[in-house]
Symmetry: C2
Subunit: 288 residues, 2 copies
């Protein structure tokens, strides 16, 4: 049996009791570590589980699944994924390849940012489509997620923005020369994401005009960092305010709020950069 086991978001103890039992008895335990990270590293997990973990990098998951699947017809193999196992397309692909080879699989679910984001106080069923914000380069500054955020905002919905992670990336030069040298990992911060969104607002303002903007410098946003861990941080404020907030180490996510219920405003006020903003918004909401 191939087990896909979600590790949740915080530290080693966020695994479920059911998941831990499989980890302890499995023949081999793989750790997928390129789509997300925990605040504890591989060593922290190994110490807590009392087992060695095999790091499954992108190469292994996408190209060497034979090794990963070895003996899975007759033995238990565990594949650990930060968050919930089905956050990333890659794992769906792995399921399909396993099934093609006649290997059965089970999923042990856990929290992912897709549901844990509810901790910020915005209601999960008021979220629209999730978007991914990627690092810009000197020559590549995509903003296609703007339209999705705009569509959510038109429907009064919040948007969860997943922020880019670059792990085990090769420079173009190293890739072309076939050198397996990797760049240091990079994790987009809330302030970086907010700054990129502010630049998009400027672009759209000059091309579309002020009226049609899906959001502006003053739109309420929430930045979250290390959700579920002891060092979790949250900050609610305007997009402009979030562009200069420091929420510490990775992982960060950003929410662009849509229409807010008074209960949601009161929750955001608990983590406000400036409470007066939410006092004013609450007053306006009560007048309606």
């Amino acid at each position: 049996m191939l087990y896909f086991i979600g590790l949740g978001l915080g530290d080693a103890q966020d695994i479920t009791v059911k998941g831990l039992e499989v980890v302890k008895r499995a023949k081999r335990v793989y750790l997928e570590a390129y789509t997300s990270i925990l605040t504890v590293g591989k060593e922290g997990l190994e110490e807590f589980y009392g087992r060695d973990l095999i790091l499954a990098d992108r190469d292994m998951v996408e190209q060497q699944s034979d090794e990963l699947f070895r003996d899975a017809e007759t033995e238990d193999i565990a594949f650990l994924v930060v968050g919930d196992p089905f956050g990333a397309t890659t794992h769906t692909d792995l399921v399909l390849r396993a099934r093609q080879e006649g290997i059965e699989y089970k999923v042990i679910h856990n929290a992912s940012i897709m549901n844990a984001i509810g901790c910020c106080g915005l209601q999960l069923y008021n979220f629209g489509e999730t978007v991914s914000i990627v690092f810009w380069t000197d020559t590549w500054t995509p903003d296609s997620y703007y339209d999705k955020i705009a569509s959510n905002r038109r429907n009064g919905l919040h948007t969860l923005c997943l922020l880019d992670i670059k792990v085990k990336e090769q420079s173009i030069e190293n890739m072309m020369r076939g050198r397996k040298i990797y760049e240091p990992p990079r994790y987009m911060t809330v302030s970086q994401a907010a700054s990129q969104l502010l630049q998009i607002v400027e672009r759209k303002r000059s091309s579309d005009g002020q009226e049609k903007l899906a959001f502006t410098e003053d739109t309420v946003c929430v930045g979250v960092a290390r959700v579920g861990s002891d060092t979790q941080q949250m900050a609610a404020g305007t997009l402009q305010q979030l562009a200069s907030v420091d929420l510490g180490g990775p992982l960060h996510s950003l929410v662009i709020a849509g229409h807010m219920h008074p209960l949601e405003l009161e929750m955001l006020r608990l983590v406000a950069i400036e409470t007066s903003l939410f006092d004013r918004l609450l007053e306006e909401a009560e007048k309606r």
Copy 2:
């Protein structure tokens, strides 16, 4: 400290190691049991934890929070919620009341249907706004969720439909006479939800015409039951097919698919009522 602890979706062992530690040491442990259910009942949890649980019904959570919060300034009180703690507005309200009384709180996250639904093979970031489908009565047949599903479908997005739960509901007669007699619990099944949606299609067809329908009898849907438990069941097919599928005991949820990627179609094919439907859709997808 007031701990909100998610129990996940399956059975007693789906609690996290971190959550279980708090349950073992907390002064009192409450179980919220009216917004969702686990496949094991209160007794199953008590046996696994080795602790007595206090059932927190709607009355207690909404009106008797003083009792729930007692000693929480100085002792650990645990409040257990099926799924992730922030699935329901009620718990947000509880956080606000705790904070007003100066009580600190922590959240221990877990899987909820909002992220675990990824197990069906449809990608989480292709979901739009979630809707709730309520039981119809002889005189009350609301269909406002149709517009939200339509909006999601226009944007190519999938819709997760949470199905109604009626627990500890009073009949109007008993309510008016002040008798605390409750109706037996009811949980909407996938086939009931699909039948209601088919009736809505008929209504819209006669009022709006065929062309503008957001979905029809032939739209691909996925029914899931008891996600995360050993008895989990899934079935993918047309809305018409799902209206007569039997997925066993609660809880059920239904997904109305939007635009599907070939990878998503291949995953749905694994749980197809009739594989030929997905073979045909895959063929069409490849032609595009």
